[in-house]
Amino acid sequence: MSPPQSSATVASRADFTMNLDDDNALVERARKGDFSAFERLFDRHRLIAFRFAYQMTRRIDDAEDLVQDAFVRAYNNLHRYRDEARFTTWLLRIISNLATDRARMSKRRNNLEQQEATGALVWMTDTSNMDPISNLEKDRRQIAIEKGLAALPVHHRTVIILRDIEERDYQEIAAILGCTVGGAKLRVLRARRALRDRVAPLIGDELQ
């Protein structure tokens, strides 16, 4: 039978546990070689990371590869992590950079982006790679918006996902992008304008 514990003791233990579970504390433990601390960090942030990666790539396997690479890079660069930034912000920044690098390095993706950027509307009518049942379930407008988003250049796509899908505030977006808050607002505005220009010819007729 365990001895009775005072409320102060329980509270201090809870604080101690909270401190241990704090991201910065976990990072500090992981730096010292405690891999279980890094496992805790992974469990805590993997959903956020995967959601953002999936929005960036729109493919499950690509998103998982991206998240895996991001956590490996984070593990290798734990000594560079600074406590002033949140671990989530730091992780999303890594994913954003990786996604940008992949988009730039992949010729196939670049070719696709160029084809779509030239104004060809084939990508709107070509739904052969999609599940027909899924096509029936989704309305045409939603498909147009999602494909228009996927066809955006990666820097526009990143800020729209962060702001309008992940619904992060501008301060965090600025931290992820490594720019000022005003710069983040300007980037988001430009990206929305670019998305609007792509989507408007396709769904604008529904408004008439």
Binding site: R51, Q68, L195
Partner: protein
């Protein structure tokens, strides 16, 4: 529609105007019909983006995958390190081979490295059979001049002497011998040509050439036997010395009274 107005509508549709501006714009009805249509379009896009965030599939990733990736990365780094050192050793071996090869090349005979021009010069400077060819050509080139008259002696020897003197690195002794031979030959030919009239020239030239040939032979013999002036001549006998077992050698200052021949 101007960008500024369009941006204002976009901000309004995404709810990023401050409350006063938003209230004012909504009360004013956004603007004209185009602006209203633009507002509806951007609002649709905003709703679509929100919906797009809801269809994210379930994350199936596990920490084992990341751990394996980290471990494989370490293995890959080790492999990369081994590959680096193996390639580095190959590079060092290649450099050493090139160094040895370059050293060997520098110690090779010079004839392997000279160009065609240098080779030609070298052959001209070397007293070989090919080197005597211009002299022969000069002698045979005199023949028509001899047939034409006596002014040959004034030109041809000078030309021949100039040609011989142009050779830069011919041994001085060889130059002297050659110039002497050519000069004597030219004098003999000129003397015969002067004495002979036009009808006898055809017979006189072979005699002149034979005289010149004899003169050349004598000159070569003298130079070969005498050697440099003042140098002693060493005669090697067939008898052997009882002390050393080697052939007996005799040193003389002059070649006179010494029989030569078999």
């Amino acid at each position: 529609m101007k960008h500024k107005h369009q941006d204002s509508i976009i901000r309004l549709a995404f709810g990023e105007h401050d409350s006063e501006t938003e209230k004012r714009l909504l009360e004013a009805g956004v603007g004209d019909a185009d602006s209203q249509k633009e507002f509806e379009l951007v609002s649709l896009i905003r709703e679509g983006l929100k919906k797009a965030g809801h269809d994210t599939p379930q994350c199936q990733m596990s920490i084992e995958r990341v751990r394996d990736a980290i471990l494989n990365q370490n293995i890959r780094e080790t492999r990369n390190s081994a590959t680096f050192w193996s390639w580095a050793s190959v590079g060092v071996a290649a450099c050493a081979f090139l160094y040895v090869l370059s050293n060997n090349r520098s110690s090779l005979p010079e004839t392997r490295l000279v160009s065609n021009t240098e080779k030609t010069n070298f052959l001209q400077e070397t007293p070989t059979m090919s080197d005597k060819q211009p002299d022969t050509q000069v002698v045979s080139a005199w023949q028509p001049s001899v047939l034409s008259g006596a002014n040959v002696s004034a030109h041809k020897p000078k030309e021949t002497t100039r040609k011989v003197a142009d050779r830069p690195s011919l041994p001085a002794k060889w130059n002297d011998i050659t110039s002497s031979i050519v000069k004597r030959t030219a004098e003999t030919v000129a003397r015969v040509a002067t004495r002979s009239d036009a009808t006898r020239n055809a017979h006189a030239v072979p005699f002149a050439l034979s005289d010149a040939s004899a003169s050349i032979q004598n000159e070569l013999f003298d130079s070969a036997v005498t050697g440099e002036q003042g140098e002693p001549i060493i005669l090697i006998n067939t008898d052997t010395d009882t002390d050393t077992g080697a052939q007996v050698a005799t040193e003389v200052q002059s070649f006179e009274n010494i029989p030569i021949g078999g």
